[in-house]
Structures are given as structure tokens and as C-alpha cells.
Symmetry: C2
């Protein structure tokens, strides 16, 4: 399969426009807080949502709006999660109605998302007043939208690819908002993906649901799972490929393109975890099942003791073994091999559950890189998995010690 990285982000695919503006939710007028993504044609739409039983009002409204499998626009604000507010659903519906009216589309074709502080009423009038400017800003440049969904994110996260499907060149691009409150087993952040490939809502849903299992569900910043996070895909069919309606070669290439974009966004999200200085990738093989491998990989990248050790470039592999031990996975501690690796080299530290002699100097060098791999072989089966996380730093504490102010 020939999947090429291209520029254009969320607007790389044909027929999509986007915009991001400051409407007044965030105090700082330099910071964008309202984003819009619009498809020229009605698009197949699929979404996955957080498993937190406390769900943001926008998720409830989006779920209802895309129940028919289609949507045309996504509106998203940052700076306020519109969650745990008595009027939350009304405000989220209002956001859809206001932008739909201004665009001349149906409110039922609008996806709505919010991110920010929980439990603070969101003033619909602030958003309403921003909508004319938002629509006026719509263009083929997705940068504004990528910026407008950021909260404590430092880097903008976007990626696009082109691929051949049904004899046509298709494009698929995405933007993501991550940083804190990110943990496995949930739709753990805000991700918006657009494509001009033609695919039925049902097949789009299958592709997305499968993808999150090995993608967004395998990243962890701090073990907290947000109430608001979701991943949404719009597919408007403007590439004119024959619509994908079943399994087959076309579906596989589509899945691969989706997987390429989501896996890169995952890495960017983990790397940009609140306060993070290093990306941690944990790859596990030799597990009895993929599920066991996933449990180990996610637990290792989630362990505060592993995360602080990586921050300190300390080859404290006992903490890795310890985290594997309480992951809930089925494994034999006396078969586990562990190595630390990075661009600076690989250091084997544990063989069959026991420590190996190694050069502390080499280990320090390896762990001083900004992309660290923890390689675990359970030597028991064929299950494998990969999880992404980040180190735990002074800045994580600083950022979260006083987030609301």
C-alpha cells in the first residue's frame, strides 16, 4: 500500500474548510477558543466516546445528531468543557442550532465538542457572538482550527496522508487535542479526522472502532480519563472512489491510511503530555494474548514510578517489572526480558526476571534521549502491543496544581 504523508492537515481532503478564532471563552484574546470544520457535501460520520460514566453534554448531543450516520460540520470550543452544568445539553444544542442557522444547514448535521474546565457554566452568547467571524474565517487552511482546540497543549497536532483507493487518489487528515486527562480504554481526547474517500457510515464505524483499540486507547498521560473526549471522522466521498461498503482491498487501504494518521497523532499526543520532556514507547511481545500484552504496555507507560525514572534518566528497570506485575496480565515473572532503547542505543537490563550487569553510563545516555523505548519480551506466546506515554515532571505538577486560574 502506498500511503504518503502530505500537507494540509484537517483540510487536506477535498471539500473541507476549517476555521479557528477567539470568541471570548479564554481570557487571553491571543488564544483561539472556537473551531469549525465544514464539509461541502454531507459526509458519512462515525465517532467513539469516553467510557467515563460522567459524559459531557456535547457528547450526548453529538450522539443524537449523528445517529443517522451523517454530518456536515463540527463545532468545538476550548476553555470550557460544558460538563456537569444543569443547562449543558441546552447549550450544546444551541451551539449546533446557531452555527447551522448561520451556515444554512440542519442542526442535526452538526457535531459539537467542548474541552476545558468541568462544571463551569458555558455562556452560549459568547459563542453566538463569535459565529459570524468564525464562518467568515473558513478557508482551506486548517491551522486555525488545530490551534482553537488546544488547552494546555504546547504543539499543534495535525497530519494528513494520501492513498489510492478504488482507482482514485484519496486524502485523509486529522487534528488532535490532548495533553492531560489521557488514559487507555476510552476515547481519550479530541480528534477530528476528515477524508474525501467514499465509505458507508457502517464501515467507517467499524474502521474507527478497531483503530482506537490499538491507537488512542494505548496512550496514557496521567491515568485520568476525561468526561468529554471523542474521536470523530467525516468522510464526504468527494474523491469519487466507489463507496466502500464491505470488507476488501479498498477497506484495508482505508484502514491503513486511518491507522497511519491516528498512530502519528497518538505519538504527538503522548509526547506533548502535560509537562512532558520525553516520549515513552513501551513495546511488549511474547505475551499469551494481545490483551495481556496491551495490559502490560499500558500499565508500564502509566506507572508514576516508571515515568519519574525516565524523567531522571534512571535505568530503574525494577519499576518496569513491578508495573508489569500489577498489570493484571497473565505472565511468568521468571521469563521476562527488559531493555531500554533510544536513538543513543539499546541497553539490556533484565533477563528471565533477573538483573543483568550493564553500564550505568550507557544506560544514562540511552535514557537521556527524548524518545525512549521500553522493550519487554514475556517469552510466553505471540501476543504483542505497543503503548505510548510520557515522563512525569515538575511541570506536570505546576500545570495541574492550579489549572483553573
Amino acid at each position: 500500500m502506498d500511503i504518503k504523508e502530505i500537507s494540509g492537515g484537517i483540510c487536506a481532503a477535498e471539500g473541507f474548510k476549517a476555521a479557528g478564532i477567539h470568541c471570548g471563552i479564554k481570557k487571553d484574546p491571543e488564544k483561539k477558543d472556537l473551531a469549525l470544520i465544514l464539509s461541502e457535501k454531507k459526509a458519512s460520520c462515525a465517532a467513539v466516546y469516553t467510557l467515563n460514566f460522567v459524559k459531557g453534554a456535547p457528547l450526548i448531543v453529538t450522539k443524537a445528531n449523528i445517529a443517522d450516520g451523517y454530518a456536515k460540520a463540527i463545532i468545538c470550543n476550548s476553555g470550557n468543557a460544558n460538563t456537569c452544568n444543569a443547562d449543558g445539553v441546552k447549550v450544546a444544542e444551541g451551539m449546533c442550532e446557531d452555527v447551522a442557522a448561520a451556515l444554512g444547514i440542519s442542526a442535526g448535521d452538526v457535531v459539537v465538542a467542548s474541552t476545558g474546565v468541568i462544571g463551569k457554566p458555558l455562556d452560549i452568547n459568547v459563542i453566538k457572538s463569535g459565529i459570524p467571524k468564525l464562518i467568515k474565517s473558513l478557508g482551506r487552511d486548517g491551522d486555525g482550527a488545530a490551534a482553537a482546540i488546544m488547552t494546555t497543549d504546547i504543539i499543534k497536532k495535525e497530519l494528513a496522508v494520501s492513498f489510492k483507493c478504488g482507482g482514485k487518489i484519496c486524502k485523509l487528515g486529522g487534528i488532535a487535542k490532548g495533553s492531560g486527562m489521557i488514559h487507555p480504554d476510552m476515547a481519550t481526547l479530541l480528534v477530528f479526522i476528515t477524508t474525501d474517500a467514499a465509505i458507508s457510515p457502517n464501515m467507517l464505524h467499524i474502521a474507527l472502532s478497531e483503530d482506537v483499540k490499538t491507537g488512542f486507547n494505548m496512550i496514557s498521560v496521567d491515568g485520568d480519563t476525561s468526561t468529554n473526549d471523542m474521536v470523530v471522522v467525516l468522510a464526504n466521498g468527494m474523491a469519487s472512489n466507489p463507496e466502500i461498503t464491505a470488507d476488501g482491498e479498498d477497506f484495508e487501504v482505508f484502514r491503513a491510511a486511518l491507522g497511519k494518521v491516528t498512530s502519528e497523532l497518538c505519538k504527538l499526543i503522548a509526547k506533548d503530555g502535560e509537562g512532558a520532556t520525553k516520549l515513552i514507547e513501551c513495546s511488549v511481545k511474547g505475551a499469551l494474548t494481545d490483551k495481556d500484552a496491551r495490559a502490560v504496555a499500558r500499565t508500564v507507560v502509566s506507572s508514576p514510578l516508571v515515568k519519574t525514572a525516565v524523567f531522571g534518566a534512571d535505568a530503574n528497570w525494577g519499576r518496569v517489572l513491578c508495573a508489569a506485575g500489577y498489570s493484571g496480565a497473565d505472565a511468568d515473572p521468571f521469563k521476562i526480558d527488559v531493555a531500554f532503547a533510544s536513538a543513543a542505543g539499546t541497553v539490556e537490563v533484565c533477563k528471565s526476571g533477573f538483573g543483568l550487569p550493564f553500564s550505568e553510563e550507557d544506560a544514562k545516555k540511552t535514557l537521556s534521549d527524548n524518545e525512549i523505548r521500553i522493550e519487554i519480551d514475556l517469552n510466553s506466546g505471540k501476543g504483542s502491543a505497543r503503548a505510548y506515554g510520557c515522563d512525569l515532571t515538575y511541570d506536570y505538577v505546576r500545570i495541574n496544581g492550579d489549572y483553573r486560574s
Copy 2:
């Protein structure tokens, strides 16, 4: 029941001596690293162990030694966990043999424990060389032992009580080592408890197993679960009460005395969590079951976002609701009430899942205390639970960023 706090710690009960010395495992000669607790008479013994599948060698040896339900001594070193070492079991057995030979008792009557770095070979000769001095230091003052089991702990944790059982005055005291790697669902630290009450090994085991469910399993410092932690109780019968061999009034008063000591040790452990400046107590009521209540309480005190908010004295109750939401408990988000409380007052922040107006100034004052209560009412049933944790601070990161050096 009349349970009185008394002095004397681990040596409060009749017939127990203890000692703590520096033998050379820790670099700093001022820091004690080897502890001994000795009962004049053979004692009923019960223990619970970590559920981590990676188990320290000392746990394996202890389990074998106390299989008959009795023990006379506890030897414990700090500075090295003797875990994930190829010769670990041999070294742990050697510790028992050496101290038993010097004391003139059977090696099978010795409980052995270690705490510290994982995967670093422990030199038995260093311990061997310390044993004469250790035995010479034995006395009725438990302070040395309490100090010798500390790693990154800042405060010594000990408590003793007296109670009347079977017409006799009995005493029960304990010491604990905590700080990092502490999380629910495991025997999560080192705790040694001695009593002169007479109780059969079987009833002692029942009392301890029940107690850890609401005690040590309900504290969390960082969500990591150690490979080495255990709770051990020795009961030597020297109070001459009729031996407790079944349920009944005597057993209930014994359980209450044990619960008093363990619950106070729990608080001390949570309060002394690595880098902690504040004790967080989360009390949950109105849950469908006690199990649901425990899940919510433990998840809330474990959430890094809740912990950093408490550190920053930020009344970010959305994070509390969010943590409850991913606890796995069965609950209705639209019935949840949340309040923050401390000696400085109580502030209600959330009613039926929605935010209440509250004074930020009052909330700041409440959260600036060093003992914070998070009170949650799920308004759905009669289940209740209490969990203890601590705030997440810059110092946690500092302590763990470079623990080995």
C-alpha cells in the same frame, strides 16, 4: 469497648524486644538499615502479601516459614528489596538462618522482609556482619526498628493500644514503612504488628485478612504496587487471656484493637506519601454496594489530577466527579453530591452532578489545611467506604526522578 492509645510501639506488648542498626546496606552510616523484632515465646503468626505477580524473594521464604502458623522473630532490611535477583531466595533464607543461629532459635520461626531498590544483588555478608550488633541492641524500645525499616519515609510510623480481652489487659502495637509504591488491592507496604493477646493462627489470619480490606488496601500514594510489601502479625499470648479460637466477644475486641492501630498507621502512611504536603481522605456514602464505594474512594484519592488540585488548593471538583466516573463503580452521575472539608470548614461544590455556586475564598481556605476530606454522596444506596491518599507535588517527582543514586 475500651481501647486506649499507649506508648511503646512495637514493644508495647509483653515479651517483645526490638532493635535497629546500620549494617552497611545504605551508604549513609547514620541511616539504620537492619531491624529485628523478637518474641520471648513462640507466637501465632499471620501475614498478607502483595498481589503483584513479581514477588520479592523474602515473601516466598516467609510464606514457607510461617506455613505452620507460628514464628518467633522478624528480620527486615531496608535499602535493597532483594527482588529479581537470581540468588534472592538463597539470600533471604540465609538471613533467617544467620539470625536464627545467633538467637538459638529455628530458622523456620523467622519472618524475613526487605525493602528498597529492586534487582540489585543483596550481599548476605553485609547482613551477617551486622547480626551480632543487632542482637546486642535488642531492647524494649522499638524506636530503632521503626527507623531501620524506613526508606524514603520522613516520619516514623508506630502506634500501640491496650484493650481488655478475656478479663486480661492485652496490648497491641505496630510499626509501618510506607511512602512510595503504595496502592490499593494489595498488601501495600511493610507493617509489623505485635500483640501479647492469645489468639489461634487461624483466627489471627481471619482478623488480618478482613482488616486489610478496609485498611491498608484503601490507601494510595502513587498507584504503584510494590513487589515486596506485606503485613505481619505476631501474637505471643503472654497477656494470658483465654486463647481466642472462634468468633465471639473476645474476637471482636481484638479486631477492634487491630483496626484502631492499622487505621492510624494507614493515615500516617498516606500523610507521609513521597513528597506529600497534605493528607487526602475520601469518604463515600450512598453507593449501591460497599464495593462500589471503595472503587470510587480509591479512584478519587489515586487521581493525579485530583492530587495536584489538592496540592494547589484548587477546588476543581470536576476532577473528583471525573475520577468517580472512571472508577468502574455503578453510579448515576446525576445523583452525585461533592463537598470539600477540613478543619477550616466545609464547602459544598456539587449537587446532583451539577456545580453549586460557592465562595472561592472559602474553598481555598478549606483546601489550604494539611488534612483534606473529599465527601461524596452517591445517593443511590447504603454502601460506604473511606480511602486515604496524599497530594502530588514537585517533591514526589524529585524523590523518584533519581531514587537509585
